[in-house]
């Protein structure tokens, strides 16, 4: 038998029982549709997370803490950056029997000079009151060197990065704009933005000041206002070592003029009392994620602790593999039900076509010919089901995506694609549909091949 004849025979047989073919195929369409949508959702989640990591350059980033310092050293032992108890990303250096290393400018230079390190800059941020368009918001301001602000670590959506480390210019991010109710990012460019910082005024620590404080007077703090020009709007802010989003970025030169509290958290105050100077953390950007291990080892050898999100990412990927498997299993159930539908249809078909099978055999069709006609019919159902099932899965996920994005847009969440349809998903869905249908058609086809022609021709 020729392939073309198989196809024509199967198609004409299926065409004769259009409604049943349609219903059986619809079962496969729904099954494969569910399967496709499930898988593509898992893939989409994975892709979004991976892209976020990549676009924020997180895989290229190693954060350096002073020995025993950093968020992991807090008394309650929690590590906010690593998220709960999964502190796998944290690796702490143990300087053996020497004075604890200090994360100062010398350390910064040494780290910046390591092979594989693109840049290293201190993680400096401070809280400030932000005044824009007559509104006041309390935000964390990140001090970011101009060369970093100009790199792909900060994705400028509108405008430009600040011109130099000394410029009184500021980059704000999309979250901040939504927070202050600015719809069009372009309209904010060139606007005047004021940072009101709170600084510690030692003069107010004089006994008189303390007395006045105790009597309900002002705290020993100064408020000072600094003007900045908004030059750029970034996609999103920079992630600091604590995973806190800093929505405003200013160059270090301008930041140096701001009198601010020299600490970000109450633990910094204690550290200050211990007389330990230095930065609370350094951001190290690598030229390639491949250098992460060697750079981390060298930094730990210097006696510092490191934290790399790349390590977290590997764990996240394992988590996604599990999620994909669960989603695929749910999709499989629908495909399995569809397979039962195929078996049912094929067995019905054999009962109805017993006489036809008898005729086929009487005119010289072998067992193999009869078997392959039925297997072919099942695989045609599978192929069509896979084709349209993929289409259905695609259409449904498009619709879900639109609805979800519509509602999330009202809450200010930017639209993203929650589903991913790589090319191999199409081929995979099609191959899976055909394979399942073939398997479902195998038993009925064997039964058809075993039909006794004498009985079949007597059959009415």
């Amino acid at each position: 038998m020729r392939f073309r004849d198989h196809m024509e025979l199967s198609l004409s047989n299926l065409w004769k029982v259009k409604l049943r073919t349609l219903l059986t195929t619809a079962g496969v369409v729904v099954g494969i549709g569910a399967f496709t949508a499930m898988i593509s959702f898992g893939l989409g989640m994975q892709k979004n997370v991976a892209e976020a990591f990549r676009s924020l350059d997180l895989l290229n980033t190693v954060i350096v803490f002073p020995p025993g310092g950093g968020p992991g050293a807090r008394p309650d032992g929690r590590d906010p950056a690593a998220g709960g108890e999964s502190g796998a990303g944290r690796e702490r250096g143990e300087p053996a029997g020497q004075a604890a290393a200090v994360l100062d400018d010398r350390a910064l230079e040494a780290i910046a000079a390591l092979p594989g390190v693109e840049t290293a800059y201190p993680d400096v941020s401070f809280p400030a009151l932000v005044r824009l368009n007559g509104r006041e918001e309390f935000r964390l301001v990140q001090v970011l060197p101009a060369r970093i602000a100009g790199s792909k670590a900060v994705r400028i959506r509108t405008g430009r990065p600040y011109a130099s480390d000394e410029a009184a210019e500021i980059i704000v991010d999309g979250f901040f704009l939504r927070g202050v109710g600015v719809k069009d990012p372009a309209s904010i460019l060139g606007a005047r933005l004021e940072l009101v910082s709170v600084s510690f005024d030692p003069s107010l620590l004089a006994p008189a000041g303390i007395v006045s404080f105790l009597q309900g007077g002002a705290l020993p703090l100064n408020r000072e206002t600094y003007a900045f020009t908004v030059v750029g709007v970034s996609e999103s802010g920079a992630f600091g070592p604590e995973g806190v989003l800093k929505e405003l970025m200013i160059p270090p030169g301008a930041a140096g003029k701001i009198k601010s509290l020299p600490f970000r958290s109450i633990w910094d105050v204690f550290r200050l009392q211990e007389g330990r100077a230095g930065y609370s953390a350094l951001n190290v950007r690598l030229s390639s994620p491949a250098d992460a291990e060697s750079v981390k080892t060298r930094i730990r050898d210097m006696g510092f602790s490191t934290f790399a999100l790349a390590d977290q990412f590997a764990q996240i990927r394992r988590g996604f593999l599990f999620l994909d498997m669960v989603l695929a299993a749910i999709g499989m159930i629908a495909v399995f039900v569809a397979a039962l539908g195929i078996i049912n249809t094929m067995i019905m078909s054999i009962l109805e076509r017993t006489r036809e099978i008898g005729i086929m055999k009487a005119v010289g069709a072998g067992d193999g010919d009869v078997r392959s006609v039925f297997v072919f019919e099942a695989s045609v159902i599978g192929f069509l089901g896979g084709l349209f099932g993929y289409g259905l899965g695609w259409a449904v996920s498009r619709a879900i995506n639109r609805v979800v994005n519509y509602f999330l847009a009202r809450q200010g969440v930017p639209a993203i694609d929650y589903f991913a349809f790589p090319w191999w998903l199409f081929l995979g869905a099609l191959a899976f549909a055909v394979a399942v249908s073939l398997a479902a058609g195998l038993y009925p086809a064997r039964r058809a091949a075993r039909v006794d022609p004498v009985q079949a021709l007597r059959h009415d």
């Binding site: 038998m1 020729r2 073309r4 004849d5 025979l9 004409s12 004769k16 006489r355 036809e356 008898g358 005729i359 086929m360 055999k361 009487a362 005119v363 010289g364 069709a365 072998g366 067992d367 193999g368 010919d369 022609p453 004498v454 021709l457």
Partner: protein
């Protein structure tokens, strides 16, 4: 039982059909029903042979065995010197494809297909290309006098026309042997005579060996070379007419 003498007319020495000690027993639950008991006969190539007998005499069983649709309980069948017992399932289907053409009482045409498609159908399993299938089917339909009805479906044809389509189908793989199982059973006497006449004509013009089962003794005597009479599964008599 007398030995069948070698017929002189066809020159070949090997019989077209050689049946030796053939028995077939059906099993219905625990009851064994003997359909054929120790049947032997030989048919020379180019012979039009008729098998007659009452209903239940084992005629159809005999034909199914010779046609390779069924396997005997005992005895041997050789068609043109080739023993069917030596063939596996695939071998038997190859034999049915090219060694023999079958015609049935109930025509056994595919109802959803046209006369033309029915005639060409067996060629699909022989792997014959579409163009050749079309040509061969058209030629055969013309030969059985149905070229004008090739696009009709069986339901749109008379009984006689349907049987002609079935005969054309039996010929399409050019087998040397045609087995006809009560080909006139569903036809009126006039049409029945035409159909048997067509078979006799094919026997004459193409040198086909024909083994026809019928309960119409008169038709058998009118056209056949030899008549084998079955009774209760045994050969009762074998008569050479011409």
């Amino acid at each position: 039982m007398s030995r069948v003498p070698e017929p002189e007319a066809p020159p070949e020495r090997v019989p077209a059909v050689d049946v030796r000690g053939l028995s077939k027993t059906y099993r219905l639950g625990r009851v064994e029903i003997p359909a054929l008991r120790d049947v032997s006969f030989r048919i020379a190539p180019g012979t039009f042979a008729a098998v007659t007998g009452a209903s239940g005499s084992g005629k159809s069983t005999l034909l199914n065995l010779v046609g390779g649709l069924d396997t005997p309980s005992a005895g041997t069948i050789a068609v043109r010197g080739k023993a069917l017992a030596g063939l596996d399932r695939d071998g038997l289907s190859r034999f049915r494809r090219s060694g023999v053409g079958m015609v049935f009482q109930s025509f056994n045409l595919l109802p959803a297909r046209t006369a033309h498609e029915n005639v060409a159908f067996p060629l699909i399993f022989s792997g014959v290309a579409k163009a050749e299938r079309r040509d061969r089917a058209a030629a055969l339909l013309e030969q059985v006098g149905l070229s004008g009805r090739s696009r009709h479906r069986p339901a749109e044809l008379s009984g006689g026309e349907q049987q002609r389509v079935a005969i054309a189908r039996a010929l399409v793989n050019r087998p040397p042997l045609i087995l006809a199982d009560e080909p006139t059973g569903n036809l009126d006497s006039g049409t029945a005579r035409e159909i048997v006449g067509l078979l006799a004509e094919l026997n004459r013009s193409r040198g086909l060996t024909i083994l026809m089962v019928t309960h119409e003794a008169a038709l058998a005597r009118e056209f056949a070379h030899i008549v084998i009479r079955l009774r209760d599964g045994r050969v009762e008599a074998e008569e050479r007419l011409r």
